[in-house]
């Protein structure tokens, strides 16, 4: 089979990989993406769809700020807003201890330039009369929003392809190795790709690829499980998340409420997540405590997907420590949708320049071998 030679080869065609490909083309570099599934269909395509800084770890705030700029430019960048809407986000506490915790975090975020407003029980009730009694207060971030995950990854893929990126889907990377000064990737179907640099954006499978270059990260699959209701009158504008993460919910203007909390199961060798319906029943119970009116709706579908989680729940986004030209961008630990568009751009810069203006301290792969 023919051989393809590009400046950069990207293993993993999710949102991060496709955003990296688009950025590389903007910079004039040639690029090929190899994806074992469909482009943008794994964790990138089946996640909750939140785009937020509220409650986000401080280490992620700089890259989240950059991501926000990309999110706002989606129409010019990829030709569609992908249903991105700035709707605000409320992080809800169910007890005073949780409320104190989010208040302290809101203050710290303020020092990083993220405006978060604390709402007490009465203010919360006035603004969101649909909230249940168990909500005692919340942190509100007006600049947060939501988007449709099914559209975003593929939109970046389409834009990258239109810009001249070579995108290969349904064909996984079988062998990845150093090749002279660059890299060689052989795919399941027998294609050979050669690149001067390599971006590892293979999500939950990223640690396996890193291990081939002598870099160890412990990563385990997480399978956030989503639930969607039939359409109901639109009542809920902001995205909602409860402290502890066992309930998060959003409603889209056409009426469906999308929510989650518990997990399915996954086997990385099989490659996809399985729904555990009993876990979803638990989510139903916890969610009606927070949003009582959904009790009268019906669920029309459950789904799940596989994401890679690191020990500290922060991504691996850095140059390799062992291999020049190799860039890691995986293990987003459930934060890859919001951060994806900027993370792809950062990975592209690392591949071309070896550096980026965006602060990525805290995401280095070396942090797991030190200690």
């Amino acid at each position: 089979m023919s051989e393809l030679r590009t400046d950069v080869v990207i293993v993993g065609g999710g949102l991060v990989g496709c955003a990296a490909a688009l950025r590389l083309r903007e910079r004039g570099a040639s690029v090929a993406v190899v994806e074992k599934n469909q482009l943008g269909a794994a964790a990138s395509g089946v996640n909750f769809g939140g785009v937020r800084r509220n409650g986000r770890k401080l280490a992620e705030l700089p890259i989240a700020a950059r991501a926000l700029k990309v999110w706002r430019r989606l129409p010019e960048l990829v030709g569609s807003d992908c249903e991105y809407a700035i709707t605000g986000n409320i992080k809800v506490a169910r007890n005073e201890a949780d409320l104190e915790q989010i208040a302290a975090h809101a203050e710290a975020q303020g020092e990083h330039g993220v405006e978060v407003q604390m709402l007490g029980r009465n203010a919360l009730r006035d603004r969101y009369p649909w909230l249940g009694e168990s909500a005692v207060g919340a942190a509100y971030c007006a600049s947060d929003g939501q988007a449709n995950p099914r559209l975003v990854g593929p939109a970046f893929a389409r834009a990258a392809r239109a810009a001249g990126a070579e995108l290969i889907e349904l064909d996984g990377a079988k062998h990845v190795a150093r090749d002279g000064g660059g890299f060689v990737v052989e795919t399941e179907s027998g294609r050979t790709l050669r690149g001067g640099a390599l971006i590892n954006s293979s999500g939950a499978w990223g640690a396996r690829l890193a291990a081939r270059f002598g870099e160890r990260v412990e990563i385990w699959p997480m399978e956030p499980q989503m639930i969607v209701t039939e359409p109901a009158p639109y009542f809920m504008v902001p995205v909602l998340a409860v402290v502890g993460g066992d309930v998060y919910a959003r409603q889209i203007p056409r009426g469906n409420v999308i929510f989650g909390g518990r997990s399915g199961t996954a086997d990385l060798d099989v490659g996809f997540a399985k729904v555990d319906a009993e876990e979803s029943l638990t989510t139903l119970a916890r969610t009606i405590d927070i949003i009582p009116r959904i009790a009268d709706l019906s669920v029309i579908r459950f789904w799940s997907g596989v994401e890679g989680c690191t020990p500290d729940h922060l991504p691996v986004l850095c140059p390799s420590r062992t291999t020049p030209g190799l860039v890691h961008a995986f293990g987003f630990s459930g934060h890859g949708f919001c951060l994806g568009p900027a993370s792809g751009a950062v990975a592209a810069e690392l591949a071309l320049d070896g550096r980026t203006e965006t602060p990525i301290e805290g995401f280095d792969i070396g942090r797991f071998s030190e200690a």
Partner: protein, 467 residues
């Protein structure tokens, strides 16, 4: 399982589920029988609610005796089986069926599963099909049998398949005004398969009788037609069609029953782990099984129209065969003579069914050329044009079309619109419909009330806490 009798779950109490239960009970196995309807009989032999007085002969015509026998069989088993009507299985995972019944959510653990899930209307959308007053053929029958009312006055029936004529007959017989029967198939399609049709014997004779009956009653029958549109402002006022020479016609009506035979209900089979294969005649993905209904892996057995549409008589036979296969597989001595006779009978019926499908073929191709503005997915209001445009990332495939356009993403989860959407996508891509794949089955297979689900979870947590 050795020593004990297996825990068997039968899903569906139509002709297949009933005969499967009867066969198991005759061999000392008492199954759990779960059925969505309030009363047994399935769709084909649907019983009116208690208190309705129309006699069986009026409800079921020639099939009255068969219907009554199937009803009586299940009624006679009630003391010996765990029968749960009004109960929907919404998921199957790991040997447990999750059900929603009158008392909320129940988990039913089983060693073996017989799926007799039946069939539902096969719909080919056309402009105006979502107008109030347009019903499926099955919906038309439910109105008549379970509600004792007609879908309009006058009514037109359009589509093809034996049900078209049967429903027209049932309506006219109940006193409704039937303005016309419009059949997309024509006689020339029946001629090459006439020998096969003759194998139908009595069934064929009855079918012919139903087909010729409307004319003797003065009801116009038009064959070889092409539907154009259902028209009306707020509700149906008329149906337009082309005759076989391409001339335009318009019939005033307030009720329109449409249908192209039926399609198998296969979601639970998929969740239960059955391998699925594309059936070119049915243009549908069906669970793979052997002649007796034994699925390729696991203790899953398929019976009745859910295993591929073959009609009510075949369903009774397949119910018995599935039960006999299950008994044999679990080491319970079963009646081999009965098995041989039922297999022979099934083969005869299947040859007739095959001829019938060819004589009255479903015009799947009609979906391919529908105007762009035609609504295909009525839950999400997705048009044919959106499906054609939504394939910008090749390979075009049904789950991707769903992700991009929302087709099949609503309340019916693609059970109604999926087949037509697949035809449209395949035509846009210029390939066979099997190449665009199928919408993956996902729980819940039908909408699940959140309150009931939440209550089940709360009970479990309370139980866990009390242990």
């Amino acid at each position: 399982m050795s020593g004990d009798t297996p825990r068997v779950l039968i899903v569906g109490a139509g002709p297949a589920g009933t005969r499967a239960a009867e066969t198991l009970v005759a061999h000392g196995v008492a199954p759990v029988v779960v059925d969505e309807n309030a009363r047994s009989g399935g769709q084909i032999y649907r019983r009116p609610p208690n208190g309705f007085k129309r006699p069986a002969a009026a409800l079921y015509g020639f099939e009255a005796r068969k219907a009554q026998a199937v009803h009586a069989a299940l009624d006679g088993l009630r003391e010996r089986i765990d029968y749960r009507p009004d109960t929907m299985i919404w998921n199957i995972e790991g040997g447990v069926a999750q059900a929603l019944g009158p008392d909320g959510i129940e988990r039913i653990a089983f060693d073996a599963l017989i799926l007799a899930t039946g069939a539902m209307d096969r719909v080919i959308p056309f402009p105006g099909w979502t107008l109030p007053g347009v019903f499926t053929m099955g919906g038309s029958q439910v109105a008549l049998k379970a509600q004792g009312c007609a879908i309009g006055d006058p009514v037109v029936f359009m589509g093809t398949g034996p049900l078209l004529y049967l429903v027209a007959y049932q309506y006219a017989h109940a006193g409704a005004r039937v303005a016309a029967v419009l059949d997309t198939s024509h006689l020339s399609q029946a001629i090459p398969v006439f020998p096969g049709l003759l194998r139908g014997g009595r069934t064929f004779a009855k079918g012919l009788w139903y087909m010729t009956w409307p004319r003797t009653a003065g009801i116009p029958v038009r064959r070889g037609i092409t539907p154009v549109a259902a028209e009306g402002e707020a509700a149906l006022e008329a149906v337009r069609y082309l005759d076989r020479r391409g001339r335009k016609h318009r019939i005033t009506c307030t009720g329109l029953g449409i249908g192209y035979s039926v399609k198998s209900e296969v979601q639970l089979a998929e969740l239960a782990g059955c391998e699925m294969a594309f059936d070119p005649l049915a243009q549908q993905w069906l669970p793979e099984a052997d002649e007796d209904g034994r699925a390729l892996k696991g203790s899953v057995y398929l019976a009745g129209d859910g295993a591929g549409v073959a009609g009510a008589d075949a369903a009774e036979v397949r119910g018995r065969l599935a039960a006999l296969a299950l008994l044999a597989d679990t080491g319970i001595a079963a009646d081999r003579g009965l098995q041989a006779r039922q297999r022979a009978k099934l083969r005869r019926i299947m040859r007739f069914r095959d001829a019938l499908e060819r004589a009255m073929p479903t015009p799947f191709h009609m979906a391919r050329t529908l105007p762009d503005e035609t609504v295909i997915c009525r839950c999400e209001a997705i048009t044919a044009g959106e499906i054609r445009q939504g394939r910008a990332l090749d390979p075009a495939e049904m789950n991707r079309a769903k992700a991009f356009t929302r087709v099949g993403m609503g309340r019916c989860q693609g059970r109604v619109c999926g087949p037509a959407a697949a035809q449209i996508l395949a035509a846009a891509r210029g390939c066979g419909v099997e190449e665009v794949g199928r919408l993956r089955g996902q729980a819940p297979v039908k909408p699940l009330a959140i309150r009931a689900g939440a209550e089940a979870a709360i009970e479990d947590r309370a139980r866990a806490a009390s242990i």
